[in-house]
Symmetry: C2
Subunit: 493 residues, 2 copies
């Protein structure tokens, strides 16, 4: 067996362990009785340890040093694959096993404490645990930075969206802050109060609707599930994707929009090239790329006037009652409302980046050591007031609202807004390439968009980095101008 | 770290991998979309490989050779634990990795072919695949036998119920055959036709009833789930047990009795001593022991006159209609019907052992090489006619009906009847120890029985082998007389 073939086998084994962990993670959020939590934590820790051990075996380094990617029509794929395997190994080998275990324990402990702290809006209760998490994350970043030749914070970002660093993001976010200061008052002034559909909306009817919408958007339930969980997410594996939502009988929009969003994630996984399954090059191109796929389906396609004109009558057929709230114009007003809320996950398209910008700046300061955990609540509230003009009334609506940091995920937040910007850029390119795209959306058909995405994004998997993927698909690297143009057209005119 | 402590850590890791596999196995049967099957097979194969590799690491053998079990109040537990670890290692080390993989592939292939062969009652379609499975199983038995100092067939039995071999079973089964020839005509002559409750019985009502019955029997849903699957089973892990059933709106008995049966299995897992979780000594004492726990709950307790007198009114409350079929006397007639059916899983308590005896004899002959796979259908039909007086009209109702052999499980079948016999023996002892047991059952209370089982069986886990466990709990080794006495009291008087 050649060194390259041996690496393929080893990384397939790692990917298979990660698939098992993905299903167990889904189960923990969707199916597991609460008494199973402790054992599940152990199961996931053991699987993560096995994957890590397989990656850092001495044989891996030896094979990586000598492997030659095969020639032939897939030469570029194999070359990228080898590069990605080397990168994954470099990251894993840079971190001592003891630190991996200490982080797993600290993150898990902190996340548990955080659940109660958030419920009680009690930041001091979680301060010590978060301090430990930040210290260990800084230690991690300190190990990764020299190995990768990046700053510590960039080394963390690299774990979520390779190829993008703070130096790329900071100017984009700075420009957006300027845009927001001008755009938000205008959008608020132009907003028209919507009619609100009257419920109740029975869960069974919502669920049937959500399922048929996911299918309409291209999801094949021979390879997918739709379930309920406290927070909607997309999980599972490429041949068995599992999306979740939650149902509120007073408001169907939450469930429907979450399913549309998660379907975008699921379609990306389903569209990855099967011949590179369990290869590094066959994975999705990073978290920003993933978010671009959920947002292009949810924000760009499904909340467009064209799709809403198709969707409105279907919603009315599902729930009955007065048809007026289901008119496309009203659905647009309802589902594209702008507001200065405190909660990121409830934010609209215009203010959402402000929530991300705040977190991006604060987490850089935490990792850089310029901000102490004890000072986080004040810094959060000050930053929020600067960006959106109001101070959160408590930490539950402030620095306690997101799980990410309390679970040790630093460097992830920028992916949300990078994804939103990429989604706008991809949609603009898709519209140029597929002139019938919007007419099809008005018939509830996503084939032109989905076909283009499969070709230009899904089918490329990790062959290209984030910027090169955008260049290949749209002719240019990340250009936030397409996002602000989209917002201007939708909210400011 | 002492060699013993190092072994504890390694076996805990193996047990944790097996927990992950157990949840994935449950998911495959209950949740997984069919498109996920191929990837799931890989995931389970990789986990099985990792568990096996961890077990046969050179360090394991070295530690096993030098380990000394700790003294103190748990000395007997640790001594048994070390003995069980050595035994597990001996089994694993005796089998070449290539054979493990070849069996996994052959069993999986054969099982898939069998599904269609059974549906079409087409034994020739699966003959070649089963021949390969039998050949590899014989090879396995041939590796295990010298390592364990047993006959090849006993080495296979040992994988399901350690401590019991064909030499223990054959005379017991021979005596039962004699009992059956006398008892069955008598039971048939004494049987009275039951009233049959009239449906439909809505699935939601059945499901609610099943859940409340499982709780009434002692299952705590903070550590359990109840779901649907094609065939009822009990799976999951000791802190997260998962039982399944299937619902037929025309007949609630199938779902209710399956849930009661699987609850018995689940209670055993829940009753294993937490302080020995993930130790070999903390596992259930084998498949016959496990079956004794499902059958003591289902056959001994729940189908008793006492419990039926409590259950009847609850069933009537759940489903309404004419109360007469729900009278305890009628439920007894209904749920203790005797008949000479061809299908094992539909068999009554008296004829069930005949189905097992047939399989026990045939699989010994297959493993011993005295029976060729091609001759299996004829041998099956001849044997069935001898035992129960009729020839199966086709192989779907003959040698194709059970998955076990087609999935490579030889040596498992005796556990069913050993479990039934042990259940009767344990119930007789429990009644002696807990004089209020039946009065409690008549109030729908299982506390006296369950408390006794937890003390005498569940809490002992694998501290004792099957026979020693029976001696400790009942004062004697396996004594089929308690089973025939139970059948005589229930069916022959």
């Amino acid at each position: 067996m050649t060194p390259y073939a041996s690496l393929i086998a080893r990384f397939a084994r790692i990917a298979t362990i990660e698939e098992a962990a993905a299903v167990l993670g889904w189960d923990a959020a969707v199916m597991m009785p609460r008494g199973g939590g402790a054992a599940r934590g152990e199961q996931l820790a053991v699987l993560a340890g096995l994957a890590h051990e397989t990656l850092v075996e001495p044989k891996t380094a030896a094979d990586l040093a000598t492997a030659v990617p095969p020639e032939g029509p897939d030469a570029a794929w194999h070359a990228a694959n080898l590069r990605l395997m080397r990168h994954a190994h470099r990251r894993a080998a840079a971190v001592p096993g003891a630190l991996v275990q200490a982080r797993a324990r600290a993150n898990s402990d902190c996340e548990k404490i955080w659940r109660d702290a958030r419920a009680g809006s009690d930041f001091p209760a979680v301060r010590a645990a978060l301090t430990e998490v930040v210290a260990l994350t800084r230690e991690l970043a300190g190990c990764l930075a020299p190995a990768l030749g990046m700053s510590p914070y960039d080394a963390l970002m690299d774990g979520f969206q390779p190829g993008i660093g703070a130096g790329d993001v900071a100017p984009v976010f700075g420009a957006y802050e300027t845009f927001l200061a001008r755009a938000l008052p205008t959008a608020e002034a132009l907003a028209t109060a919507p009619l609100v559909p009257r419920g109740p909306f029975p869960v069974a009817a919502q669920e049937a609707l959500c399922r048929s919408l996911a299918e309409r958007l291209g999801l094949d339930f021979a390879h997918a599930r739709l379930d309920r969980s406290a927070h909607p997410f997309s999980g599972g594996t490429p041949t068995d994707v599992r999306i979740t939502t939650r149902y509120d009988e007073a408001d169907f929009a939450q469930a429907v929009l979450a399913v549309i969003h998660e379907t975008g994630h699921a379609l990306y996984e389903r569209g990855l090239p099967a011949r590179f399954a369990r290869h590094k090059v066959g994975e999705a191109a990073g978290m920003a790329a993933h978010e671009s796929q959920s947002l292009i389906v949810e924000m760009q396609a499904a909340r467009s006037d064209a799709f809403l004109s198709w969707l409105g009558p279907r919603l009315h057929a599902a729930f009955g009652g007065d048809p007026a709230p289901y008119a496309a114009t009203n659905l647009g007003r309802l589902w594209r409302r702008v507001g200065r809320g405190f909660i990121r996950v409830d934010a609209d398209e215009i203010t959402y980046p402000a929530h991300v910008i705040l977190r991006f700046r604060l987490e850089q300061a935490l990792i850089g050591g310029e901000l102490a955990v004890a000072d986080l609540p004040g810094a959060w509230n000050d930053g929020f007031a600067t960006l959106l003009g109001a101070r959160p009334p408590d930490d539950a609506r402030g620095c306690l609202q997101d799980i990410h940091w309390y679970d040790g995920a630093f460097g992830y937040f920028p992916s949300y807004t990078l994804g939103a910007m990429a989604a706008a850029q991809l949609m603009a390119a898709a519209r140029r390439a597929e002139p019938g795209l919007d007419a099809a959306l008005a018939r509830g058909e996503v084939a032109p968009l989905l076909g283009w995405l499969r070709r230009e994004v899904h089918g490329r998997a990790s062959l290209l980095g984030f910027q090169d993927l955008l260049i290949a698909a749209t002719g240019k690297p990340l250009d936030p101008g397409d996002f602000t143009a989209h917002l201007t057209a939708r909210y400011l005119t």
